[in-house]
């Protein structure tokens, strides 16, 4: 008898593990019958889970910190992917280093990791938000804005960076910002759900770990499966495949990112009314993962 679960998933390569687990029958092998609902943002996934429309969400850190600050009883059970955010600049803008960003117009996506990345990037270059013009754009609108000459640089994630380079060719270049900020993609459920269905979550995590193993073993097949699922062409996904780091884990870096993000929220006022720094030791629940693969939990606080 399979356990039934509803997964709200952001349809993109960042959800690669869940995609593989679903399409390769790995959920079933782990005793799960998962119904997948696709969204175009992790924020919607989490909202859906909070509202009771689904049981398990795949989501980036931004919605997690917002929900935690709003006092929602969420449980962060595992990280499953991370990837660096990157910057593409127009050739015309003559931006060679981070410091050249001064006085430039930078496209970012408000409320997402892109915003935190941008803040971190500017700080690392010794700049503040006042030294540049920040323009809020959805990733798919950044390219046309670059092409129209409305902005000089974009801060976003793959595949939009690759798309920009492909679509605009010589007119743009990537700025080296590696290591500045990684956006994480994670598994979040509601606390009451977790308490009621501990076995299900464990099986779910086990399935993701199996998927990770399978992906390592069959990288070519993995690209094909994911590209198919998200509607990309295989040869578009292949070049950026290595940018996605798939690893089911709970580590200090994850918590650090959550804290950085929360701090940014508090600092910038982008938080629910009356929010304080959440106690992430309550939000992050390591038991399920510990039970399935203790070596993947490397949290220093426990």
């Amino acid at each position: 008898e399979l356990l039934k679960a509803r997964l709200a998933q952001n349809l993109g390569p960042i959800s690669g593990l869940a995609i593989v687990a679903k399409s390769k029958g790995i959920f079933e092998k782990n005793g799960l019958d998962v119904t997948v609902a696709n969204f175009t943002s992790g924020k919607q996934c989490l909202d859906t889970v909070i509202g009771g429309g689904a049981d398990i969400a795949t989501t980036a850190e931004a919605p997690v910190t917002a929900a935690a600050m709003a006092g929602q009883p969420i449980a962060f059970v595992a990280g499953m992917e991370y990837s660096d955010l990157k910057t593409v600049v127009t050739a015309k803008a003559a931006i060679k280093t981070r410091a050249d960003l001064r006085d430039k117009r930078i496209g970012f996506t408000a409320g997402t990791g892109s915003e935190v990345y941008t803040a971190t990037l500017l700080k690392s270059a010794g700049l503040t938000a006042k030294d540049v013009t920040l323009v809020n754009l959805r990733p798919q609108e950044m390219l046309p804005a670059l092409a129209a000459g409305s902005i000089d640089a974009i801060d976003t994630w793959e595949p939009h960076i690759a798309n920009a380079k492909k679509a605009l060719g010589e007119a743009v270049a990537e700025l080296d910002t590696s290591g500045t900020y990684s956006e994480t993609f994670n598994i979040v459920v509601m606390r009451p759900y977790l308490d009621a269905n501990p076995a299900l979550i464990e099986k779910f995590i086990a399935a993701l770990i199996d998927a990770e193993v399978w992906m390592k073993a069959h990288p070519d097949d993995a690209i094909t499966v994911v590209a198919d699922a998200v509607g990309m062409k295989r040869d578009e996904l292949a070049p950026i495949w290595t940018d996605y780091v798939y690893r089911v884990r709970l580590d200090d870096r994850l918590v650090e990112i959550l804290k950085t993000h929360s701090a940014w929220r508090l600092e910038s006022g982008n938080h629910p009314p009356g929010a304080v720094m959440p106690d992430f030791s309550k939000v992050v629940v390591s038991e399920p993962l510990k039970k399935m693969a203790p070596e993947r939990v490397t949290l220093s606080w426990k």
């Binding site: 609902a37 919607q44 909202d47 509202g51 429309g53 046309p144 092409a147 798309n163 998200v230």
Partner: protein, 274 residues
């Protein structure tokens, strides 16, 4: 009732009539020609604009590229699935929203108390873009198809309600008086006089609502879907597959065009006394 694109004045034509306006036949042929050329002309201009190099061809692909993308989409079999899903949502939502809109429009248009009670509320809710309350709809309906329908119904309902409401008040008072003097009871008054008298306005509302239903599809297919034209557009947009994006938009246009045409024909039949 005349359909959207026909000539403004209908003239009974007999083959033997010698004294039609001399140029009317020529004019009619010209119109058909112009009508047939309208879309090809537009597509041609688009191709030119796109290939001229003035804009980025990847971001603004020419019709040929779009056609290729659509063909690919159709060949994959996905198109049919998407089309069916979207069509189902639009038609069901349109019918439910339209029926409710007509019903409430007649109620508020005819009964002042109903109008006092509901009109302020409807006027306040009317402009709220469906996309802005997708989270609330998910909260209420979960990820069911009902929630998606609700979003389509939302947009259609208010459009049809408003024009029905106004239409009811524009019903020829002479006809109402005549019906009153013939002892028409209230119920029959609504269905025999008010509904038919307001029909031209209701049709305007319904035809406007055809496009509104496609607007709201964006909200409906944003969340928790697996198929649908707009859903596919959204995905293609994320992946910078602009050919498919444009193809999807063109598909929306064509579906609605056909729907509107069917609708106009239907409307013409409904207004049988013309």
């Amino acid at each position: 009732m005349q359909d959207g694109t026909s000539a403004p004045q209908r003239i009974a034509v007999r083959s033997s009539g010698r004294n039609r306006r001399p140029d009317s036949a020529r004019l009619r042929r010209l119109n058909i020609l112009v009508g047939a050329l309208s879309l090809p002309l537009f597509v041609g201009l688009w191709e030119l604009a796109s290939r001229s190099g003035a804009v980025n061809m990847v971001l603004f692909p020419p019709p040929t590229v779009v056609a290729a993308a659509v063909l690919e989409w159709i060949r994959s079999g996905q198109f049919l699935v998407d089309l069916t899903a979207s069509l189902y949502r639009v038609t069901t939502g349109f019918m439910v929203g339209g029926a409710l809109g007509i019903l409430f429009g007649i109620l508020t248009g005819q009964f002042p108390v109903m109008s006092s009670l509901l009109s302020p509320l409807f006027h306040i809710l009317r402009p709220i873009p469906p996309i802005a309350f997708v989270p609330i709809v998910i909260l209420w309906f979960g990820l069911s198809e009902a929630g998606k329908l609700f979003l389509v119904v939302w947009g259609v309902f208010f459009t049809v309600w408003l024009s029905t409401h106004i239409g009811v008040q524009k019903v020829d008072r002479g006809l109402i008086r005549a019906a009153l003097m013939l002892g028409t009871p209230r119920r029959q008054m609504l269905q025999e006089i008010v509904l038919l008298g307001a029909l031209p306005y209701i049709v305007v509302g319904l035809r406007t609502a055809v496009s509104i239903s496609f607007y709201t599809l964006v909200a409906a297919e944003l969340a928790g879907t697996f198929a649908g034209i707009v859903y596919r557009i959204e995905i293609a947009q994320q992946n910078m597959q602009t050919g498919q994006v444009m193809g999807g938009l063109a598909a929306l246009g064509l579906i609605s065009f056909i729907a509107d045409r069917l609708f106009a024909v239907l409307a013409e039949r409904t207004v049988w006394w013309r």
